[in-house]
């Protein structure tokens, strides 16, 4: 351990009176809240209607297939994963440019970050989707993608990108999300790079490594270890921000949930179920990152 790690905490593992009182207070609060809600809210709970939108029994193939809500979940997952990959690329490149010696690169990356960070995601997606993508995408020929063609209608395409007819919207949503989150990842990466001691740079250059090798072998590995916690938080934020993509007709989980809630009029059941699905998705990411952090700590002795 070096000077920079904090001293270990003494974690108490036995339960005392104080703990029991706390548990009691929390339980009391929860019971009271549930009781008040049931008392005040006149609502006939009916879960079967909403659960029916999770999976349905397909008579043709005689099997349980996914229905709207699960399909929405897959779309959200696709959106989140592709946007994560893209956002990481934007973030790392721009983060490096923020710390570069070259003035132009610094200006470009700083402009990118400040423009996007100071705008709410909803406004950004409206601007991007209605003005930018509606002008650029037709010019690039993405709107005319042949949805009956061999590649577009293949199972692989559907697995990776979803419905080929909604591909241009999906692309717009993905790029928008990636651009938006990339700005925050840029700052996180910049902080990671700048927090690496200057001594590491100087020592690495002194033994003859090129700037690229210094970055790749010495600085970035140390920076990554430091930025894993905020990076995990940012990726989870990305998953939650994907709900905003429902504004541009992507059939992701939030959009489908509004349709199901409107059709069945079971508002609370739908949203509680969808909240639970988002929780599972985000918590899995959080667990994954916790695992990555533990691995990184191991190599730190």
């Amino acid at each position: 351990m070096n000077r920079n790690t904090p001293p270990p905490l003494e974690i108490k593992k036995r339960l005392t009176i104080v703990d029991f009182l706390l548990y009691g207070a929390v339980a009391l609060f929860i019971f009271y809240a549930v009781y008040r809600v049931n008392d005040v809210l006149v609502y006939h709970w009916n879960w079967s209607k909403v659960l029916g939108f999770l999976v349905k029994f397909d008579d043709e193939s005689e099997a349980w297939v996914s229905n709207l809500l699960l399909q929405g979940l897959w779309t959200t997952l696709r959106l989140a994963l592709w946007a994560t990959v893209l956002a990481t690329v934007f973030g790392v490149v721009m983060g490096y440019w923020r710390t570069c010696k070259n003035l132009t690169l610094r200006i470009i990356s700083r402009t990118y970050v400040e423009l996007i960070r100071n705008m709410p995601p909803v406004v950004f997606i409206f601007i991007f989707y209605f003005f930018v993508s509606s002008q650029i995408f037709p010019a690039l020929g993405i709107e005319d993608i042949d949805s009956e063609g061999a590649f577009a209608s293949s199972a692989m395409f559907h697995f990776m990108f979803g419905d080929p007819q909604l591909f241009s919207n999906f692309l717009a949503g993905m790029i928008c999300l990636a651009l938006f989150e990339g700005a925050y990842i840029t700052e996180i990466v910049r902080a990671g790079i700048q927090s690496t001691e200057k001594g590491q740079w100087e020592a690495a250059r002194a033994i003859g490594l090129s700037p690229f090798n210094v970055l790749r072998d010495i600085v970035i590995p140390q920076a990554v270890r430091k930025i894993l916690p905020p990076l995990a938080g940012q990726f989870i934020t990305l998953i939650k921000d994907s709900a905003i993509i429902s504004l541009i007709s992507i059939q992701e989980l939030t959009f489908v949930a509004t349709e199901v809630a409107a059709t069945t009029t079971r508002v609370f059941e739908t949203w509680i179920l969808v909240g639970f699905m988002y929780f599972i998705l985000c918590y899995s990411f959080a667990l994954l990152f916790a695992h990555l952090e533990r691995r990184a700590k191991r190599s730190q002795r």
Binding site: V42, L68, P138, N169, I248, F255, T263
Partner: protein
């Protein structure tokens, strides 16, 4: 003339010619593509999801028939209502068939066809707070609270018909209705036949103070991008024909009169 002046004139001329040609050909585009893209939003019973996840409803039937008569397939693009007009202008789909009421403000940005349905606003009232209320004056008091979905015609109707009452705005019809059921609002205004469907689902707590008479009469039409008169002509005439031969009224009655005809399609087994 100098080179730059010649250049500027040429560019202007090209742009004008191009833009003139680009505007008029929606019908040709649809027929070339073989698919008519229709923008709509989920709104019971205009458009909703059945238990298999497919779209059903009055709008769906209308759009399917229009596409059939045009000889093309139909593709639905479910869109959030607040972004549906910008999406139409950005060419994400060809026409909005979504029970959109004709208003002058909307008409400044999009073209409307002839009306194909006349819905209206209806009121559902709380049995607890508004029992015995059965006239407009009963509700037009400052002690009365009326809930509605904001941004759309219901809230405007609420303000206009009951100027003295307090108007509570919500993002969603279901939320506005929940206020009445909870006994926090005297009544709520929404497009018929939703209030009637909801009052049937909560018999003791909610009733229709004015029976099934609507408070206002609205005109719903298809919305198209500005500049294309040929498409407007085609859709308007389609509506006129199908009003005269009764198909529109028949289909409207099937979905709006009462829920029994299609209730089973929506509720899972």
């Amino acid at each position: 003339m100098t080179i730059s002046k010649i250049f500027k004139t040429l560019t202007l001329a090209t742009l004008l010619t191009l833009s003139g040609n680009a505007a008029a050909d929606l019908l040709t585009d649809i027929q070339k593509r073989g698919v008519m893209k229709v923008g709509m939003a989920t709104f019971v019973p205009w458009a909703m999801r059945d238990k298999d996840g497919d779209l059903i409803g009055f709008e769906i039937d209308v759009a399917t028939k229009v596409a059939e008569d045009m000889g093309v397939k139909v593709q639905f693009v479910p869109t959030a209502w607040s972004g549906i007009i910008p999406a139409l202008i950005a060419k994400k789909f060809d026409v909005i068939i979504g029970g959109m009421s004709i208003t002058p403000q909307r008409n400044l940005t999009v073209n409307f066809t002839e009306p194909y349905a006349h819905s209206g606003q209806q009121m559902a009232a709380s049995s607890k707070l508004a029992s015995g209320f059965d006239s407009m004056d009963d509700f037009n008091k400052s002690s009365v609270t009326i809930a509605c979905r904001r941004g759309a015609t219901p809230c405007k109707a609420a303000q206009k018909l009951f100027p003295k009452a307090t108007v509570l705005r919500f993002d969603d019809d279901a939320q506005a209705f929940q206020e009445v059921v909870n006994g926090n609002a005297h009544g709520m205004i929404s497009s018929a036949p939703k209030p009637r469907f909801w009052s049937e689902a909560h018999p003791g707590k909610v009733f229709l103070p004015f029976g099934s008479k609507n408070l206002t009469r609205g005109d719903e039409a298809f919305a198209l991008r500005k500049g294309d008169h040929d498409a407007l002509n085609f859709f308007s005439n389609w509506i006129t024909i199908n009003t005269s031969n009764g198909w529109l009224d028949e289909t409207h009655a099937y979905w709006f009169q009462d829920q029994s005809a299609w209730k089973d399609m929506v509720a899972p087994k």
